[in-house]
């Protein structure tokens, strides 16, 4: 048994070596691969643009190809929140998907500052072999409101700019792009024949045989009244207490990132004609919290915000919150949500004796973009060797926090990430070592303080301290 494992390990190492070698060689030759068929579906129904890309690739060279490169124009690359890829394995009925690694990469002859991501294939493609890849990438802040300022009665129109042709370093034999719009109302769109607009779908293509780096800019001007809820800064503090509770405090700085509100805000109109007035504004948000959540509060700097509802069942809890006023374009609001969770749902012990917290990354508010997310995991006093395992790159650092009666302070692991979308809600782990004896430190301290106090009282009462006799 042991022998076979070591054999396998050796095999893997070899494969890995070959892989690296191939990566280097593949980078130099992008014409090794051609895309037989590409289908792109762009979902514009909310302010988070989701792009589903299905690629059928073929290796046309003899050297085996182990990775596929995706190209993005620099404007898009800046707003790129997430790129995910998966490969379909098996035929039709027994189809299953395998997650593939995606990493940013550089190509030497990149035109106009094009940015690249490379997808590592599971098995290198040999000559003539094909593979089907499904890519999901998400763009934030990519819908530009135009006009940039609207009054209360107008609905919000936005520009979306992209290319009718998929930007790719490979030759693309056939491609189609579908844009899904939130309503049937589209002001204008660039035509790159064949182009078809029907219902809520705008279709570009099919286009045949386009050389690498073909680009054909299109602009779509469409109505989008979905709430443009952007959290400029979100600070989530997760405080672990080994007495059985996890306390979470989330500080939000919310802004409506759509077209700015101009002129009058009439409350009478807003309330009497909700369907015509302030359609792009939003007045409530939904936060999905873990099940068994307790002591939920929702407040801001000046006190409790009384408009919230909590629905909770055994699978999940939903907190519906209303900011103090409806948010129109450009209006801001800050608030804090806090709640407690039972410790046993989130804290586990790993086989090597370490403890780990298994908690979800990202922002609990539905359909929001977080420009800057900071998660602070406050470990109990006396815990050591903190380390985090997060499925995507984040900035990490350590801090110390002093809370109730702390002497040495609690270790705080800080995770930071920019441009976070709901797809980032995945579990992450924080590992640390902790000796249970530390739990008793504070009660013992309090007990000894009281003891000393009573002793002092006794001493005072039993000794005459006056100077006079």
């Amino acid at each position: 048994m042991a022998r076979s494992i070591s054999m396998e390990a050796a095999g893997l190492t070899l494969a890995f070596l070959i892989l690296t070698f191939l990566t280097i060689s593949a980078a130099s030759s992008t014409n090794q691969i051609q895309i037989l068929n590409a289908e792109r579906r762009i979902d514009l129904s909310s302010h988070i643009v989701k792009v589903f890309l299905t690629l059928k690739v073929e290796n046309v060279m003899t050297a085996p190809a182990s990775e596929i490169v995706l190209a993005f124009p620099p404007a898009q690359a800046d707003h790129l929140a997430l790129v995910k890829a998966q490969a379909a394995i098996g035929k039709k009925k027994k189809k299953s998907y395998v997650h593939l690694d995606v990493n940013p990469t550089e190509l030497p002859d990149a035109p106009n500052g094009t940015k690249y991501f490379s997808i590592s294939l599971l098995n290198p493609l040999s000559l003539g072999e094909t593979a089907t890849l499904e890519v999901l990438y998400i763009l934030t802040h990519s819908l530009k409101p135009f006009p940039a300022e609207i009054s209360q009665s107008e609905s919000q129109l936005v520009y979306f700019r992209d290319s009718a042709l998929i930007l790719s370093p490979y030759h693309v034999k056939q491609q189609t792009t579908f844009l899904k719009t939130p309503s049937t109302k589209v002001e204008s769109f660039t035509r790159v024949e064949p182009t078809k607009f029907a219902g809520r779908e705008l279709k570009y293509g099919p286009y045949e045989d386009r050389p690498p780096y073909s680009f054909s800019p299109v602009t779509v001007h469409l109505e989008n009244n979905s709430p443009f809820a952007v959290v400029e800064e979100l600070l989530r503090e997760v405080e672990i207490s080994h007495w059985g509770n996890i306390q979470i405090t989330e500080h939000y700085k919310l802004v409506h990132a759509g077209a700015r509100h101009k002129g009058v805000f009439s409350r009478v109109e807003y309330q009497s004609r909700p369907s015509f007035s302030g359609t792009s504004s939003f007045k409530h948000l939904l936060a999905s919290l873990p099940p068994r959540v307790h002591s939920v509060y929702y407040r801001d700097d000046i006190g409790n915000i009384s408009s919230s509802h909590l629905r909770s069942d055994y699978r999940k809890s939903e907190l519906e919150i209303e900011p103090r006023y409806p948010l129109f374009g450009g209006w801001k609001a800050t608030f804090v949500i806090g709640y407690g969770l039972p410790l046993e749902d989130f804290l586990f012990e790993s086989p090597d004796g370490k403890r780990y917290l298994n908690f979800s990354f990202g922002c609990p508010l539905a359909e929001t973009v977080v420009d800057k997310l900071t998660i602070k995991v406050v470990l109990p006093e006396g815990s050591k060797d903190p380390s985090a395992a997060v499925p995507f790159p984040v900035e990490q650092r350590l801090e110390t926090k002093y809370s109730y009666l702390d002497v040495v302070g609690r270790t705080v692991l800080v995770l930071e990430k920019k441009n976070v979308v709901p797809e980032h809600i995945t579990p992450f782990q924080v590992y640390y070592t902790f000796k249970p004896i530390f739990m008793l430190a504070e009660p013992l301290m309090l007990a000894s303080v009281f003891f000393l106090f009573f002793v002092a009282c006794l001493a005072y009462l039993h000794n005459d301290l006056s100077i006079r006799k």
Binding site: F265, R267, V268, R324, G330, S403
Partner: protein
């Protein structure tokens, strides 16, 4: 035998004393907890939030203090208020409360207890009311013994008048000042009883704390001299009196002058003159007593004639100078508020701004009843009890209650000063009543009457005897206290005194049945006082919520029926920035429009924008919205307030010009006509006209009144219908229900359809609530 008995008695006594002490310690602890927790209704029913208007300012100052430190605090020039004048906060604020809460916060944080400044501020008042009830215990104990002290402490912990000013969240000067007041009085009495310089120094420090905390310190510095004078006049002068008074004046005045807001006022204004005058008198008297002690009676007579003739001349000269000085200042050296205390009609005649504040009005009879309820009946009994026997301490308490009754009659706010006095008096009355009744029972119980003389030491009766001994002990301690008559008695052997007092007591005995019934009644009364509260609480809950939008005055009727502290706590708990009602389906509806408006201003206007509103909302706007305001609740500049009042009562164009000259971008108006919130700007409008008209004569009150009546319906005057306040309040009001029916004024408004020419509606607050805070902006900005 006698030896053994006495030693046994001694150990029994110490043991009993120890038990008594521990027992009263625990009672005090419970009283403290009661005082603290009875004030938490507001946090439990609503939330942990600062209440009302002034507390928001104090909270903001505390925030500044904790953030920037004490030195910056003293030098703080606030440019966020009274634009464009600004306000020197460090020099115009009583810093006691702020420093107290700041210190508390700092202490907690240095122990790594991360409480926010807001939390500390919210709970300062309940904590200090616990302190205040302990201070009451100490004060009353000095006057009439432990029993009275405990009773008074319980009463103070629950007295509605004090609760109303110290619920969690009402973070105002009075919160700590009442404690400081009572504690200063306690130390004064303690010094008077002991003649110890240590307590005299502490007294001066306590007085300093009081000066730091509240403008009401002038009450102390006038009451104590009055008492000293009373003592001198009634021939009760003693060295203890001198020690109690002289250091207080010297140290206290020096310390008071250290507080920036008081400064030289401590020696310059008429409020303090009484203390200096008495200071001189007490020295003269001290000298006289000293000389009298050293000279023979004949020599003394000669000396008196000599001194009196010379002294009269000097005094006349000095008084003449003094009168000239005082007369040269326009207000005769008195501040407006103090003057209105002496002459209740002063404010309404000359300073409408003082008269416009509801808490500066004289209270109504029902409000006495509501604020101190059953205590009102006990006070006379307490006063009588204070006269048997009259000591220095009890004469002080009597003087205190007499003056406090007068002041509370002038200004409803000073009811707060009256409440502790009433509690002390009632405590004394109740405990005396219990004393008399239990004693009567004890002396008449079958089998125990003969025991006290025979000296029987059987186990049953020992307890009885001990009780007697205990009351004797109490009497002794009471007699140890001042008054020259009793001093002689102290010298007499204790046994003799106790026999005599026993005989006296036997004479005071009431019939057994009567006293048993009376005790039961008293206990029942006490139980009723709390029990009814519990029972009615539930019923009232609904009732209170139904009527929550009604004014306080209408609550009075309810309080007549049920004197219950708990429900009083409920009535006083509403933070005034949030109101709740139950909808018909039983759901809770929260009106949170004030904070909605402030949050909007804070997040959606530029940091340097100026917001104009009537001064009531000034403190809240600076604290919650963090925007610059034109006027606020610190009404120091009448002209400035009059300017805003004028703008509100002018037609749109003139108002726009005024606001433009003040750089105002937003105007905040509170309007309650939609949901029936009565304290809105339309109801306050006449004060704006009056105050504005006081400075700018072109605003005339009669222009806004039709036949002397204030109305906004079709009978209203054109000036009224065209003024800015009317227009901002009722802009597009008709679109809400089609008729423009104002639920507060119970009428349809006079002018329904009009457009704003110089202002535009920027935002207004939620749903159908009582208040639409309308931030309106000038279109050319």
């Amino acid at each position: 035998m006698a030896d053994g008995e006495s030693s046994r008695e001694a150990t029994a006594r110490t043991l009993r004393n120890a038990f008594g002490n521990v027992f009263s310690f625990f009672i005090l602890l419970l009283i403290g907890i009661l005082a603290f927790s009875i004030r938490l209704f507001s946090v439990i029913k609503y939330e942990s939030v600062i209440h009302e208007f002034d507390p928001y300012f104090n909270y903001r100052v505390t925030q500044f203090l904790t953030k920037n430190g004490i030195y910056d605090f003293w030098n703080w020039f606030d440019d966020r208020t009274w634009y464009p004048l600004g306000r020197v906060i460090g020099g115009t604020v009583y810093p006691g409360l702020t420093l107290t809460a700041g210190t508390l916060w700092w202490l907690l944080n240095s122990l790594n207890i991360p409480l926010s400044v807001e939390t500390v501020c919210v709970f300062t008042a309940p904590i200090f009311s616990a302190f205040a009830s302990w201070a009451t215990y100490l004060l009353t104990k000095e006057v009439k013994g432990t029993g009275a002290g405990l009773t008074a402490a319980v009463l103070l912990a629950m007295v509605p008048s004090y609760i109303s000013r110290s619920v969690a969240g009402s973070y105002d000067n009075e919160a700590v000042a009442i404690f400081a007041l009572i504690f200063t009085f306690y130390l004064y009495i303690k010094t008077l009883n002991t003649g110890s310089l240590f307590y005299a120094t502490l007294n001066a420090l306590a007085y300093f704390y009081m000066v730091c905390s509240w403008g009401g310190y002038t009450f102390i510095i006038n009451l104590i001299p009055m008492h000293v004078l009373l003592c001198i006049v009634t021939g009760r002068y003693s060295s203890r009196l001198y020690i109690a008074y002289a250091p207080l004046v010297v140290l206290g005045t020096l310390l008071a002058a250290l507080v920036p807001v008081v400064g030289f006022n401590a020696v310059m204004t008429s409020e303090h003159f009484a203390s200096f005058l008495v200071f001189i008198i007490i020295h003269v008297v001290a000298l006289v007593y000293h000389v009298k002690g050293n000279l023979s009676p004949r020599m003394f007579k000669v000396a008196v004639t000599l001194v009196v003739s010379v002294g009269l001349v000097v005094c006349c000269a000095m008084i003449a100078v003094l009168i000239a000085l005082v007369a040269s200042s326009p207000t005769k050296g008195w501040s407006g508020r103090s003057l209105s205390l002496l002459d209740p009609t002063y404010a309404s005649k000359y300073i409408p701004i003082i008269a416009s504040v509801s808490e500066h009005q004289p209270p109504t009879w029902p409000s006495y009843f509501m604020d101190i309820n059953v205590l009102a009946f006990l006070v006379p009994a307490g006063i009588i009890a204070c006269f048997l026997p009259l000591s220095d301490a009890s004469s002080f308490v009597v003087l205190y209650i007499v003056t406090a009754v007068y002041f509370s009659g002038v200004m409803v706010r000073l009811m707060l000063v009256f409440a502790p006095a009433a509690c002390i008096m009632s405590g004394i009355a109740l405990s005396e009543a219990f004393n008399v009744l239990t004693r009567s029972i004890k002396f008449q119980l079958p089998g125990s009457s003969g025991i006290s003389q025979s000296g029987d030491t059987s186990m049953n009766t020992e307890g009885e005897q001990n009780d007697i001994a205990k009351t004797e002990k109490m009497d002794e301690t009471a007699k140890e206290r001042p008054s020259k008559k009793n001093k002689r008695k102290e010298k007499e052997p204790v046994v003799k005194a106790s026999i005599r007092s026993r005989i006296e007591r036997r004479l005071l005995v009431l019939p057994l049945e009567a006293s048993v019934i009376a005790i039961i009644l008293l206990v029942l009364l006490g139980a009723f006082y709390v029990k009814v509260a519990c029972k009615v609480d539930a019923a009232l809950n609904v009732h209170a919520l139904l009527t929550s939008t009604l004014e306080k005055s209408s609550r009075v009727g309810r309080w007549k029926l049920v004197h219950c502290v708990w429900a009083a706590a409920e009535a006083y708990s509403a933070p005034s920035i949030v109101l709740t009602t139950y909808s018909r389906e039983g759901g809770l509806h929260v009106f949170d429009d004030f904070r909605e408006a402030y949050a909007w201003l804070s997040h959606n206007t530029e940091v340097d924008d100026k917001v104009a509103s009537w001064w009531d909302y000034g403190y809240q706007t600076t604290a919650m919205a963090n925007r610059t305001v034109i006027v606020d609740n610190n009404t120091w500049n009448n002209t400035h307030i009059a300017t805003v009042g004028t703008a509100m009562s002018s037609p749109e164009k003139a108002a726009w010009e005024i606001f433009n000259s003040l750089d105002v971008k937003y105007v905040l108006v509170v309007f309650g006509g939609l949901v029936g919130y009565p304290s809105d700007d339309i109801n306050k409008f006449l004060w704006m006209v009056r105050i504005g008209g006081g400075v700018f004569p072109h605003i005339k009150e009669p222009d806004y009144l039709r036949d002397g009546q204030y109305r906004i319906d079709s009978q209203a005057t054109p000036t009224m219908l065209n003024c800015l306040m009317y227009k901002l309040s009722y802009y597009r009001f008709v679109e809400t229900d089609g008729k423009a029916f104002d639920r507060v004024r119970q009428t349809e408004i006079g002018k329904k359809y009009f457009k704003l020419t110089h202002f535009e509606e920027k935002a207004s607050s939620t749903s159908s609530p009582k208040r639409s805070g309308t931030g309106k902006r000038n279109p050319w900005h």
